[in-house]
């Protein structure tokens, strides 16, 4: 499969740490999060954190990669990408909705924050790889005439950004983020993506 799998199994203790960090980072942001708050949320002593990661920055990077992979898996793992684009799209979009509903902090951390000051090369590379993979899928759909032309990575960014924008709006207004969100936004998203119908007048 073309989706990056988790290469190593995270030790359970680190996982607890990452869970705690995820919650707090999503809430306060990386820079505004004191390490002791993460420790407390994880139910460990501050010093223990440094047995698992070299510092706050590495913690954030490990987290970023875990969640990036998690999300990629949640969207694409086991999906047969060779069926009709509209069907695949619908499946993936629904999964995106479910992911947002089930892992709101993951989506928030990944997409609603500014990671520039601390992401390391490995994290950036992973992000780029995921982008490229999804971009490749769109390119094939374009070749098949199912998706409108244009830079596939930009198109990906646009559809996906649309969903992120909706999630952000829900958060701002207190609207619940549940699986309905996929439904509510699906047609619009496909309208963005789908190749325009050939002009009937031209026929």
């Amino acid at each position: 499969m073309f989706i990056p799998m988790a290469p190593t199994v995270t030790p359970p203790r680190l996982d607890v740490l990452l869970d705690a960090a995820l919650a707090v980072f999503d809430e306060l942001g990386y820079a505004a999060t004191p390490v002791p708050v993460i420790a407390q949320r994880a139910g460990v002593a501050v010093g223990s954190i440094y047995r698992y990661v070299s510092g706050k920055e590495q913690l954030a990077n490990e987290l970023y990669r875990r969640e990036k992979r998690r999300m990629a898996m949640a969207l694409f793992d086991g999906v047969d990408l060779d069926t009709a684009p509209a069907d695949v799209f619908r499946t993936v979009w629904d999964r995106l909705g479910r992911f947002a509903a089930e892992h709101p902090a993951a989506l928030g951390f990944l997409e609603l924050h500014h990671h520039d000051p601390y992401l390391d090369d490995e994290s950036r590379a992973l992000a780029a790889q995921v982008d490229a993979t999804v971009g490749g899928l769109l390119a094939r759909w374009q070749a098949a005439g199912a998706v409108r032309p244009g830079d596939p990575e930009l198109l990906t960014a646009q559809v996906f950004g649309g969903f992120v924008g909706v999630v952000r709006q829900c958060r701002a207004t207190g609207r619940p983020i549940d699986h309905h969100l996929a439904e509510l936004t699906r047609d619009a998203a496909w309208g963005l993506l789908a190749a325009p119908a050939p002009n009937p007048a031209a026929g």
Copy 2:
């Protein structure tokens, strides 16, 4: 006009401060930005900042509101909203592209950062007001059958989020953010928004 105007004229010195803060906040994020860095960038002494604003938080809020208004003006000021929706949309989308090109830090600060921990009520209210205004426009377009049905604020969030996603992607990959971006994304955005053509077979 329905777009919120700047209620007070910003004193020129505060404006210099906000310009500096904008650049640094966009780059480092609010929490990671030291006040002295803003002062230096503005060419004033640290202490002077506290003559204009009560602290870092108020500075960020003043900035947020200035930029939010600036952007609303840039998108809508002087636009005749009563012409054909597709035309208005095209105009506004082009203006959005120009705004992104000319004020990249403003767009980045407003849309690429997580403001939750520090935005005050006034700033939130302004954001809500802008959303509502744009939502109202979309609602009228829906009533006119030009835009697909659905919660207009969600739809707004989705189109706009799409553009933000594209800008974010450009930043991540180093692709320049210029006025072409509007062109490149316009059709997709309108595809997202536009009411689907009535089934020709049904005619």
Copy 3:
């Protein structure tokens, strides 16, 4: 003159800091000295230290250089090095005794501690320069037949090390370090240095 002068005038506030650091470093050693203790001794807040030096390490290096120069000045400044070696030696040794008596912490810090882990290149270079300068003096005395042959830097290290050993012993036993120390050790030191009298039987 061949002795390195203080190239810059230390700002008075930094001087206060260095005085405090000197006392504490000499007492506890560099690694065992908490920065707050230095701050308290200097009568300033912890944070203020970081306006003058970039950290504990730079503080120790500034201190090391200041004291190294101070000591070189105390020993050699204004001494006419072209008079008879035995007279010059006597003068310098007495000055060494006075320096030890008046600046016990300086001598202790410079000579009784292990500086390897934190001295920077500039400090090492200064130390080497002082060594070389004194070594040069000894070499001239050797050429004049006044001082026994052998690597002049080793010879310097040996006489000077003798004095340091005595100071260390005094500290260990609680014996006061005063100007008598120079007197008490002078003949032995010159016995170490002086060229052995030609064998009278050989004449």
Copy 4:
């Protein structure tokens, strides 16, 4: 014999610990040495250290005493102190050179570091005892007219300090510390110690 013997036989495991501690203390200094680093160097788990000593401080004291005794033995054990002072001196000085060459870390740890903050009474007493013993030897030599007058402990400190100074200089400049060092410094050291020849003019 007047030289303090090791009163207890060190358990072999503790010896391994002390060897590791010696290497690291000499390199980093007591205060800057983390206990885990010692454990790693010794090839044992951190926790195991606390089965043999009560903590870092006791470890350093055990080490100090072991090395102090080791050195005293290395210098004096088996030496017939009743032969001619110059011969005894020569022997001991050569042994000192050999000790420095063979146990550079021991000499470094004992003589190049500041032990004040952690040495306990037992260690201080041992040091004093060694000093006194050597001082007694010197006093006898003075009585025999072989060594110049003056406080014998100060004289000891001065000769020995000379050697330490030379070792320190070698370390600073990267010069190897081998058995030649004894040779190179022997005459100077004896010049320091030896009673000055009676003034021939006075004869």
